[in-house]
């Protein structure tokens, strides 16, 4: 007679695992990575590699030799953090920037809180903001890194948002600034200049579509963020088109897509219920627009997400799912 297994129900399990989810996120990030490699050369690939290896290695070392807990790098979450971190860096950033970022992301933002699932803030974003504050020059300048195959004439200088902000400060009007700035198709396909992951909206949307199809994420958070940004910046733009950038420009620049698709939807640091997710998304959208229009930084997505990350426990506490049997009354 066989010695049978006995366990409480259910006796079967969906094929989805933490690892398969993280793998899907990596696959969804691939188009964006490819575009940035094509646009800015092998240095980006090197940057991605350094960042991923640093993150994974760091998590391994911390778990094995410091915390002495089971090593869980095979769940690929550290690799995802590494990729996101690299995509948040300027394409020509020195490699040690990625290593410092990895130390902040994995060491400070993730492992101090207890590892995967316990962190309050998105690790990659914490690292990005840390680097942005500590190394503002490196993090905001985009030298011509030499594009591969001459696809784009990568321009040196600031990001579109940075350029606009700079220009407005110097007293120029928007129509003057955008004339020599970007066309829509440029924004959509090749938003030259910007963090590695911000180059192509189309690549990011492709990843978004993949994640939706695989049911890894729901559209709630990204759509609410984008809608909020569109509507709020639309109101401002209609009020004063010479002072405020237009909504389409706002959506396709400055990592809003990268942030809303890949960072704001991070399971660990986003609310659990649809209601909570909508509030979360609106919050991110509002803060982003306000930082962009009125803050001293040209870019607000990272701050917006990190600030809204703080509200997640509260949102989880007060936004309960619709219970069965509560339809009427």
């Amino acid at each position: 007679m066989n010695k049978f297994i006995v366990s409480p129900s259910p006796h079967t399990h969906s094929p989805e695992s933490t690892q398969s989810i993280m793998r899907d996120v990596l696959i969804a990030l691939t188009p964006a990575m490819l575009v940035s490699i094509l646009a800015s050369g092998w240095s980006v690939l090197a940057l991605i590699c350094v960042s991923v290896v640093a993150c994974v290695l760091l998590e391994f070392l911390i778990q094995k030799y410091w915390l002495k807990v089971p090593v869980t790098v095979t769940d690929l979450s550290a690799a995802v953090t590494g990729c996101l971190l690299a995509l948040n860096l300027p394409p020509n950033a020195p490699w040690w920037i990625a290593v410092i970022g990895a130390i902040v992301a994995i060491g400070v933002a993730k492992m101090t809180f207890g590892g995967l699932g316990q962190n309050i803030f998105n690790p990659a974003l914490v690292a990005r903001v840390f680097l942005l504050v500590s190394f503002p020059v490196i993090m905001t300048s985009w030298d011509d890194a030499g594009s591969m195959f001459g696809i784009v004439d990568a321009f040196s200088g600031a990001t579109p948002l940075g350029a606009v902000k700079e220009g407005l400060k110097n007293g120029a009007t928007l129509s003057q600034l955008t004339a020599d700035n970007l066309t829509f198709s440029q924004q959509f396909f090749f938003n030259a200049g910007g963090s590695a992951g911000e180059l192509s909206a189309v690549a990011l949307l492709l990843g978004f579509l993949y994640l939706l199809c695989r049911r890894v994420i729901k559209a709630t958070i990204p759509v609410t963020i984008l809608l909020t940004v569109f509507v709020v910046s639309g109101i401002f733009w209609l009020a004063n088109p010479e002072r405020f950038t237009n909504p389409v420009f706002n959506i396709f620049t400055g990592g809003l897509l990268l942030g809303s698709i890949f960072m704001a939807t991070d399971y660990v640091t986003s609310p659990m219920t649809t209601k909570g997710q909508i509030i979360f998304g609106i919050g991110i959208g509002l803060i982003t627009v306000f930082v962009r229009y009125f803050g001293s930084y040209p870019e607000g997505v990272s701050f917006a997400i990190l600030i809204m990350n703080c509200t997640v426990p509260l949102l989880n506490k007060y936004c309960k799912p619709r219970r069965f049997g509560e339809v009427k009354k």
Binding site: S9, T12, T18
Partner: protein
């Protein structure tokens, strides 16, 4: 658009590999072990003594409380022992052991295949007949059917819903009876509608059983008061609350009884048993059991006398393959693992499922990544991740506030958790503890 319930749910692969196996009558057994605890509630009290001769269908035990039931002899022969015997979980339950001699039935049982359409009985007579036939809900909960057919005075039944969803993967016994005996099921429904005093009836069937839908729809042409409703494939549609929501769009209030929506749900197997009991005087002495599993070369749907040891069924079905690592009584989502294969079948057994190591082995638990898939999957709109956390900390007041008592133990949360957290294991035990505390409180 096909109907379905409105909150949560998952889509496990349905694996209905035994759907094409017609119902076979299981060969005669040598000894039957009839459990006294085949229904929810108090175990029945034996009314026969060792050495007594019994016939098929003879009462051998009587109810010992309001929620209890009659038990009939599934075989003819001599009572050999009345003593505790291990059930599928290995717990000792009183059993009556009967040595089989021939196959002699009680005289009043009509064994012809003729369909009797006249229903000359009053509601009270029907309920008495159902009670005397020892019929329990065959959907799994084994709730005595006659109790459900007589709702409390202050509640009014408005419709009857026959549950033919069979949303559990693998199971096909309901599918088979709906294909093979549709009219008798509908007649059972008509009888129960008469007992309840309602004029509207539904049969909910999931879309993955087109043959059953076709045969039931065909048979229902003669019974315009019963409508066959095709439902989307979605687990746990067969849950009483989910089915009511899917079919008549009403939700049972939290903590309330299903009757508060005006609906009474009965399984199609129960309906068939009711038909046989009322029209043919046949008590519940056998049921259809699916024997299935991908590791089995041949799948079966057997009509088995109650009290047959499961090991015997497996032996007749071709033996347990080396690869089988887990035996389950019921489906893979809510079935119970069989710890003791020598246990005898009871009224509510619907299947014996064999799973291999790869199919059933739990994966190691890792950190919760707060993906909220469990909360999206929960058909009761609960937050399993939170209940799990509270349950492990033993915070009963908070668990009650988060309505752990609403959990229907469908297993969607554990099924869907990518981190392999045994959510339901923890929630089930917390629920039991909270319910115990709630019951111990003085009622207002």
């Amino acid at each position: 658009m096909k109907k379905t319930f409105r909150i949560g749910g998952v889509h496990p692969h349905d694996n209905k590999i035994s759907a094409e196996a017609a119902i076979e009558v299981f060969p005669a057994i040598e000894t039957a072990y009839v459990s006294m605890a085949q229904h929810l509630g108090a175990p029945a009290t034996p009314v026969v003594a060792v050495g007594d001769k019994v016939l098929v269908g003879q009462v051998i035990a009587e109810p010992s409380g309001f929620i209890s039931g009659y038990v009939h002899s599934p075989v003819s022969g001599t009572v050999k022992k009345i003593e505790p015997r291990a059930d599928i979980a290995g717990n000792m339950v009183p059993h009556i052991e009967i040595t089989v001699e021939g196959d002699e039935w009680m005289e009043n049982i009509d064994r012809t295949p003729d369909i009797i359409r006249e229903i000359p009985y009053t509601a009270e007579e029907i309920i008495a007949k159902v009670k005397n036939a020892g019929i329990v809900g065959l959907g799994g909960a084994s709730f005595p059917t006659h109790v459900k057919l007589a709702p409390p005075k202050d509640k009014k039944a408005e419709c009857l819903i026959l549950n033919g969803t069979e949303c559990e993967p693998y199971l096909t016994s309901d599918d088979r009876i709906m294909r093979e005996r549709p009219e008798e099921i509908l007649l059972g429904g008509v009888i129960m509608m008469k007992a309840l005093g309602v004029t509207r009836g539904y049969v909910g069937i999931e879309e993955n059983k087109p043959a059953a839908i076709a045969s039931m729809t065909e048979a229902a042409k003669a019974y315009p008061q019963i409508e066959v409703v095709t439902l989307k494939k979605r687990y746990p549609q067969g849950g009483e609350k989910q089915l009511i929501d899917a079919v008549i769009r009403r939700q049972v209030p939290s903590g309330g009884l299903p009757i508060e929506t005006g609906a009474v749900v009965q399984n199609v197997g129960t309906s068939l048993a009711v038909y046989e009991a009322v029209q043919k005087n046949k008590p519940l002495i056998d049921n259809v059991i699916t024997v299935t599993g991908k590791c089995l070369p041949v799948q079966h749907n057997y009509k088995v006398r109650i009290g047959t040891p499961m090991s015997k069924i497996l032996e007749v079905a071709g033996g347990v393959p080396e690869k089988a690592a887990k035996l389950i009584s019921g489906g893979p989502m809510m079935g119970r693992a069989i710890a003791n294969p020598d246990a005898a079948t009871v009224k509510a057994n619907g299947a014996i499922l064999l799973l291999t190591e790869e199919e059933t082995r739990r994966r190691p638990e890792s950190n919760c990544i707060r993906c909220s898939k469990c909360a999206s999957a929960c058909p009761m709109g609960l937050e399993p991740w939170l209940l799990n956390k509270l349950g492990r900390a033993g915070l009963h007041a908070e668990l009650e506030q988060e309505r752990v008592y609403d959990c229907i133990e469908c297993g969607c949360c554990s099924f869907t958790c990518p981190a392999g957290i045994p959510l339901l294991d923890v929630i089930r035990i917390s629920k039991a503890e909270v319910m115990k505390i709630m019951r111990s409180r003085p009622k207002k």
